[in-house]
């Protein structure tokens, strides 16, 4: 009951008009690319690689970052969170409701986008449907993990947005590819690993089926850290 109340108010806060339109535009980019390719009569051979580069590497972390940091971080910043914090609610319940709503919003925008883009991009007979399905499942799981991490960041620091952007661009984008073994700490690798688990042709993953385990651990750790930090959260701006 309280979980649903929290989820409801979070959903209304997140669906501000401007943010929703911007995120829909961002989620539409892969579909637009698919339409362009299709209009030119083409079709790519390796749908998995294109979806990885387009959705998993760019659009997914950005949408998750915006919803993840807005779900709790902006309430903590603007002071409306006080009305939720001063209630007899377990802090983990607050965090779980935030992750559920922000993660679901991210997934609702990006899973259809991934599927549509995959169908439009894939060349007939290249097994692209199976690959697309694998990637879509990976994106679904990745939405919740990313959001959980960004929510935890926004509780720990008021610079959650900047740090999250740094994580997505610098760590995921550059470092995690260069340093062997560092993929274990990369959500992008989990997404690729899950896709590969469902359809081995979707991605050549280093973590492989272990990705499911890593993803579960990452989600649990981010949830736990966010809950503990929220329990000792000190209101900023006291005199």
């Amino acid at each position: 009951m309280i979980f649903m109340t929290l989820a409801g108010v979070t959903l209304r806060a997140l669906l501000g008009r401007r943010r929703t339109i911007l995120m829909l535009l961002l989620a539409g980019v892969p579909v637009l690319m698919g339409l362009l390719v299709r209009a030119n009569g083409g079709g790519v051979r390796d749908v998995g690689a294109v979806l990885d580069g387009l959705v998993v590497r760019v659009v997914l972390p950005l949408v998750a970052l915006v919803f993840g940091t807005a779900a709790l971080g902006s309430e903590l910043e603007d002071g409306t969170a006080v009305h939720i914090l001063t209630k007899p609610i377990r802090r983990s319940t607050i965090i779980l409701a935030k992750i559920a709503v922000a993660g679901t919003l991210t997934a609702v925008m990006l899973v259809p986008s991934t599927i549509l883009a995959g169908i439009l991009l894939g060349r007939a007979g290249s097994g692209s449907l199976g690959i697309t399905f694998g990637m879509a499942v990976g994106v679904l799981v990745g939405s919740y993990i990313y959001v959980a991490i960004f929510i935890a960041l926004s509780v720990i620091t008021s610079r959650g947005l900047i740090l999250g952007l740094g994580y997505a661009l610098i760590w995921e984008g550059v470092l995690a590819g260069l340093l062997p073994g560092s993929q274990v700490f990369s959500v992008r690798e989990y997404v690729r690993g899950i896709a590969a688990t469902i359809n081995p042709a979707a991605a050549d993953s280093i973590v492989g089926t272990g990705a499911v385990l890593y993803a579960a651990v990452a989600l649990a750790a981010a949830t736990a850290i966010a809950s503990v930090r929220l329990a000792v959260y000190e209101l900023r701006g006291s005199d």
Binding site: M1, T80, E234, G237
Partner: protein
């Protein structure tokens, strides 16, 4: 009007229980610092039912004290308890606390009713709709209840926050500058409301930097200055301390020199100074001097043009109260 159960704990023996029922709000040797800045410095008090005013100039540490009582800040030293339970890291205390924060931020996309119902639902009340309607009626906001909070005036936001804080009928109410932005009619209504809640046995602590607000509403008062407890107790006692302190007056008259000489024969006056054709009179007692000043001038055959106290800012009152402890 019930007398408040108000007791200041002796600093050296902070853990000693106050006589009677356990105090609702207790600070024991509490300090709070931010880096090198001390916001609250070794404060001890215990409050029971009744209205207590937390009086002090802006930046004195009032909000820090309220936030520690509301479990939103960890005391750097000492113990803060609410209804016998620790306030920090203990969400269960929010069943008995209602907090009205000073910041206006309210989810702007909710109606006033939606905002109060949200509070009722998060409190887990069995009938949130009825509880919210009752709280909205209590703060006299029914007319605007279905408008978006984003369209509210400052006073209306203040009232909708109070309704949300009252919705679960808490035994303890903490209000940070609750009268900011209210018009005089709303103030009178709010004072009556808080008084009736205190008479029903609730412990109410509100902060204010305006002496008159505290005087009209509070039974007990805690005077905070620069993070320290400058005075605590009955308001009439504090008022007496404030009026009995030394005052300085500037006097303009038809013959300042003659008047200065005449003043020096008065026991209430302990010094006069004539500089830049301005007569400054230092008096030991406010009341004695103000009663004597007209008589002295008449006897000396001097016309008074102006008698003005120079240092009656609240700031100097607080500084005086701190200096005498």
């Amino acid at each position: 009007m019930t007398a408040p159960s108000f007791a200041e704990l002796p600093t050296a023996d902070a853990a000693a229980p106050v006589a009677g029922p356990p105090a609702a709000l207790v600070l024991e040797r509490v300090s709070r610092w931010y880096g090198n800045v001390v916001a609250v410095n070794d404060i001890t008090f215990a409050l029971g039912a009744g209205v207590t005013g937390l009086l002090g100039p802006n930046g004195a540490g009032k909000t820090t004290i309220l936030h520690m009582l509301a479990g939103l800040l960890k005391p750097s030293a000492g113990r803060v308890s609410v209804g016998g339970q620790p306030a920090w890291r203990n969400p269960a205390v929010y069943r008995s606390i209602g907090l009205v924060p000073e910041r206006e931020a309210v989810q702007a996309f909710l109606s006033g009713r939606g905002f109060v119902e949200l509070a009722a639902r998060l409190q887990g009340l069995p009938d949130p709709v009825a509880a919210a309607a009752k709280a909205i009626a209590t703060v006299d906001l029914e007319v605007a209840a279905d408008r978006m909070v984003g369209t509210y005036s400052k006073g209306m936001r203040q009232r909708v926050k109070i309704a949300a804080a009252l919705v679960h009928e808490p035994s303890i109410l903490l209000l940070d500058e609750p009268f900011n932005g209210m018009d005089p009619r709303q103030r009178i209504h709010m004072i009556a409301l808080l008084r009736s809640m205190a008479d029903a046995g609730r412990a109410i602590l509100f902060s204010s930097h305006i002496l008159e607000e505290v005087e009209r509403l509070a039974d007990g008062v805690l005077v905070i200055h620069a993070g320290r407890l400058a005075a605590a107790g009955d308001f009439r006692e504090i008022r007496r301390l404030m009026t009995d302190r030394p005052h300085t007056f500037v006097v303009r008259s038809s013959d300042d020199r003659r008047l200065a000489a005449a003043f020096m024969t008065e026991p209430a006056v302990f010094g006069t100074e004539l500089r830049d054709s301005r007569l400054t009179v230092k008096v030991a007692e406010f009341g004695g001097f103000t009663r004597a000043v007209a008589r002295v001038a008449r006897d000396a055959g001097v016309s008074l043009f102006e008698v003005a106290p120079t240092d009656d800012s609240l700031e100097s009152v607080f500084a005086y109260l701190v200096s005498r402890r």
